[in-house]
Symmetry: C2
Subunit: 435 residues, 2 copies
Amino acid sequence: MPGESPHMTETPEPNIVIVGAGFAGLSSARALKDVRAKITVIDRHNYHLFQPLLYQVATASLSPADIAQPIRSILKDQTNTRVLMGEVTGIDRHNRQVMVNGASVPFDYLIVATGARHSYFGKDQWAEHAPGIKTVDDATRVRADILLAFERAEAESDRERRKALLTFVVIGGGPTGVEMAGAIAELARNSITRDFRSITPRCARVVLIEAGPRLLPALTPTMSDEAHSALERLGVEVRLGEAVTNVASTGVTTAKEAIPARTVIWAAGVRASAAGQWLDTPTDRAGRVVVNKDFSIPGYRRIFVAGDTAAFRLGDDRFLPGVAPAAKQAGQWIGQMIAARIDGRLGPDSFRYDDLGSMATIGRREAVARLGRMEMKGLIGWLLWSLAHVYFLIGFRNRVSVAASWAWSYVTYQRGVRLITGRPASPSEKLEKAA
Amino acid sequence: MPGESPHMTETPEPNIVIVGAGFAGLSSARALKDVRAKITVIDRHNYHLFQPLLYQVATASLSPADIAQPIRSILKDQTNTRVLMGEVTGIDRHNRQVMVNGASVPFDYLIVATGARHSYFGKDQWAEHAPGIKTVDDATRVRADILLAFERAEAESDRERRKALLTFVVIGGGPTGVEMAGAIAELARNSITRDFRSITPRCARVVLIEAGPRLLPALTPTMSDEAHSALERLGVEVRLGEAVTNVASTGVTTAKEAIPARTVIWAAGVRASAAGQWLDTPTDRAGRVVVNKDFSIPGYRRIFVAGDTAAFRLGDDRFLPGVAPAAKQAGQWIGQMIAARIDGRLGPDSFRYDDLGSMATIGRREAVARLGRMEMKGLIGWLLWSLAHVYFLIGFRNRVSVAASWAWSYVTYQRGVRLITGRPASPSEKLEKAA
C-alpha cells in the first residue's frame, strides 16, 4: 500500500494526531482516552466552539464564553493527550508528519477534522459585504455590524440611507439562515424598541433569500411551510427561488430585484477546509475529502478525515450531513476503531449514521424539529430545541449560563450582550467607508 | 463673561450635551431625568463599562458582557435623553457646539467626562509591549496575551525562552496592579495547573513592580503591608522602590535588574483624555482640566468637566480621586445643579466628597478594604469587596451573571472565559514577531 511500509510494526505507544477540535476531533479524542498512545490534539484556537449557537452570539443573546470552552479544560484529565494550539500548514502523508508552528509532529494515525469555511461560489469579492458566521470573531463582527447599523440609522437624516441601514438581508434558507433572520427580526422588533429616539426599530426590514424552492430542505415540506409562516409572523420577508446575482456595499441584487441594504449575512454555502490539498487526495465539488467506508483516505489506512471536511457516502446518493451529531458519531467511531486496532481487538461494526433529526428555532418561542420520524413545531419544538442544545453544550458552567441568559431574555425581551467591540470605535468610520 | 452672551435668555428646553457615558456622565444624565431639556449623551462605545472589574475580564474570570451594558438600555425610559454613538473630534466653546461624526451638536450646557487613558510618562514606545487595561478591547487583548503565553510555553523547548514566556510583570502598585498581579498568580497556580503537559503553570513567575515605597497608597501602611503579604502568599514577587527604566519585547528593566518577560501589563499611570485641548483650558500635569468649585471651567459657567478628566481641588493639596464613587458623586451633583438652574430653583449645597473608602482584592479569598475609617482584610474584606462590586453593577442580569461566575470559579478554581479571540489565529505569528 503506498505511503506505508509493509513491514511496519506497531510501536508500543503510537502517535495519534488529531487536527481540529470541533465535534468530530473532540469526540475521537475522547473515544481514545483509555488507549496506550500519545495523542496530540491540534487546533488553531484554544477553545472548542459550539457552532450551532454561534448565531446567538451574532444576535447579542449569548456571550462567546457561553458557547466556547478551552480544549485543555475539556481534555485535562485525559493524561494520554496533549493539546497544541497552532496553525497546520501542511501534512506529509508519506513520512507521516504534520507541519504546525514551523515544526513537525509525527503520527502513526492521523485524524483530520478541520471543518468548513464559507463558500461564495466563486464570488469571493462578496465576502467583504456579506460575512458568514463560522468563528467567534465572525460572530462578534456580525454582532457589531448589526448593532452599528441601528446606531448609524439613529444618526442618519436621509430617508433612503436610513432605510438601507435598517434593512438586513440574510442569504441562505438553511438552519443558520432561518435562525439568523428570526433572531434579527426579534432583536429589531422587541428588544430595542424603546432604546432609540429618531428611528423605529420596529420598521426594520429583514429579508431572507433562498435560491431553492423551500426553506430547511432537511425537513419535510410541511415543516418548511411552518418555518416560513413563523418567520412571516415575525415580519421576515421570505424570498424563495431567488438566486442572488450580486452583493455590494449598497445591497443585494437578485434576478428579480435590487434590495438596498447595509447589513448582509451569508448563510448560503460552505466549502471544506484545505485538508484535501494537504493530503493531496480527491475531493468533491465542495472541497470535501472523499473517504472510504472507514473514513480513511484512498491508499492510506491510517489517515482519516471526518466532520465537515469529509464526503462520506451513506449508501445511495446521500452523504453524511454536515451537522454536529453526524460529526460526533463519526469522530467517536473512528476513535473506537483506532483504539481496537491498537489493542489488537476486533473493531466496531461498520459505521452507521444514527439520524437524530434536525431542528431550527425561529425567534424566541417557535421552532421546527424532526426527531427521528416525529415532527414538532411551535413552543414544543422550541422547548425541545432548547433542551437539545443545552444538553449538548459541553461544560456545566456553560449550560447554567446559557439557560440563565435564555430565561432572562425570554422574560424581559432584553438582549444582554449588545456590545460593539473589536471594531473601529466610531460608527462614522464605517459610514464613510460605506458611503 | 467670555463665551456667553450676557443677554441670553433660557430657552424653554435647553440642550444639555454629555460627552462620555462613564460613571460621571451617566450619573449626571440620570440626575437630569425630570428636567425639561433635550439631553444628548455621546460616547464612542455603545456601552457603559464597569471599569473596576475590567481586570477580571483580562484574567478570564468574567465575560465583557458581564460588566458592560448598552447605554441605550440604561437610559431607555428617560424620554428627555437621546444617545449618540460617536467620536467627538472637538468642541467649539464659543459657539457652543460639539463636533461629532462630522456633524455638530449644539449645547446650552455641556458636561465633559471622557475619562483617562494610560500614560507612559513620555515613553510611548513602551505601550506596544506593556498594554494597559482601560477598554473592553484592551482587556480581551491582555487576556489573549496571557493565555497565549502559556500556549507558547507549552510548545517551547528552549528553557530560557520558556521561562520568559512564563514570567508576567505588572507595573504599578495601585489597586489595578495589585488586583492584576493576584489574579494572574491565581490563574497560573490554581486554575490551569492540570491543563498543560510540558509546562508546570505553578512555576509561572509573577512580578509586581512599584516605584513608590508601598502598595496601595490610598490605604493605611498597615493595609499596604497586608496586601503585600497576601500577594506573597499567592507567590507574587513584589518589588517596591524600583522605577522601571525600560520596557521592550524581551522584558522589563529597572534600576536594579533586568527581568526577561514576554507579558507585561501597565497599571502605572493615567493621563486624562483630550478634553483639555478641545476646551482650550488649563490642565494639570496629568492632562486633567482644572475646574472651579462647581466643576465648571474658568470663564464658562455652563461647561463642566468631571470624572477622571477633571482636577478638582478638595481644599488643601488633595484632589478628588480618580475612582468610581467620586465620579458618580460629581456627576450627580452637576446634574442636580443644572436641573436647579433650569428650573430656577436653589441648587444643591456646594459639592462635598463623601469618601466611601477604598478596596482591592487579592486573589479569590483575600481583600483589603477601608470603609470610612474602618479597615478590613482577609475573607471579610473579600466578601465586602464582592458585595460592593456586585451592588454597583448596573443591571440585574449582570449582577446575577457576575455572582454566578464568581461562585463557579470560587468552588471549582476554574476560569470560565479562557478564550483567545480577536487575535492572529496562531501563536506562531506572535512568536515570530517576538523572536
